[in-house]
Amino acid sequence: MPSPQHTLLKQFLVASAAPLARRRPSLPTMRLAVEMMAFGQFMPWDIFLEEADVEGMAAEWIRRPAPPLAG
């Protein structure tokens, strides 16, 4: 049995279907919408980001901070 939180999420998604189908958003619009949804996310506590360049491709290290060096 899914949790109430999941039921709420599902209701939101289902309610989004009809307006989406009517509007038929373009791919750039969908990309923008997904990016904007990401603004509401927050990193877990004690996790840090570091940009990386993987042969010209944007990437990120996502990790806990390294422990302090002994001595």
């Binding site: 049995m1 899914p2 949790s3 939180q5 999941h6 999420l9 599902k10 998604l13 289902v14 989004s16 279907a17 009809a18 989406l20 189908a21 038929r24 791919l27 969908m30 990309r31 997904v34 990016e35 949804m37 990401a38 996310q41 927050f42 990193m43 877990p44 004690d46 996790i47 980001l49 570091e50 990386a52 993987v54 042969e55 491709m57 944007a58 990437a59 990120e60 290290w61 996502i62 990790r63 806990r64 390294a66």
Partner: protein
Amino acid sequence: MDSAAGAPAGRVILYLHGGGYVLGSLNTHRALVGSLAQRCGVAALAINYRKAPEYPFPAALEDALTAYYWLLERGHVPADIIVAGDSAGGGLALALLLALRDAGEPLPAAAVGLSPWTDLKLPAGTLRSICQEESLLLEALEIRSWGPLYAADTPLNHPLISPGRAELHGLPPLLIQISNAEVLGDDVRRFADQARAAGTPVTLQVFDGLVHWWHLFWRFVPEAATALDRVADFTRQVWETEEAAPAVRQAA
């Protein structure tokens, strides 16, 4: 320390985000990957691979391979790498294993697929009555067009596009999570059965009644947090086995 990236040269999760090969980025999955890194207690490398239709197959797979080799060049051994991804990223993670296997390259320790997209043909039974509500949303998003956008001139049943159509022998342990009420459920179960029949160790975890991409909502959907905890359990188990293996070989 890995001086180039500042991350410790050790165990790492190479994460490939989902989004149907056409959407998604580092931004959209940052919190999910962060939660995974925290629970697994290791660093994660997330990459922004190229998306269709601007960059069709095999661009995304080439980028995943580039990231894997990049990790190897920086001192990570294959046994210290677990490849993971959700939805299309999960399918891409499986395609990465297949490409490495076929090239005779060293394979990572394991792979994790969170509701992986294993068959881009989306067979007729895929958008089915059990998940009719979700199907409405996905049809509204025209998900059926995303596979062909990625595949472009390559057939959708190409094994590196649809890993469910590949020979699945000789792969490292796989953890596959799926919901019994999501559109990809049947395809993923079929994939797991085929992989097991081919001798690949598969841990299939089926969740009840959840929508596709539920992992993204880990902060407020408890089932998602549970699923990520199970991923962490799996990664620990894989790496403990890796640690024990040399000792067992020595004892033998």
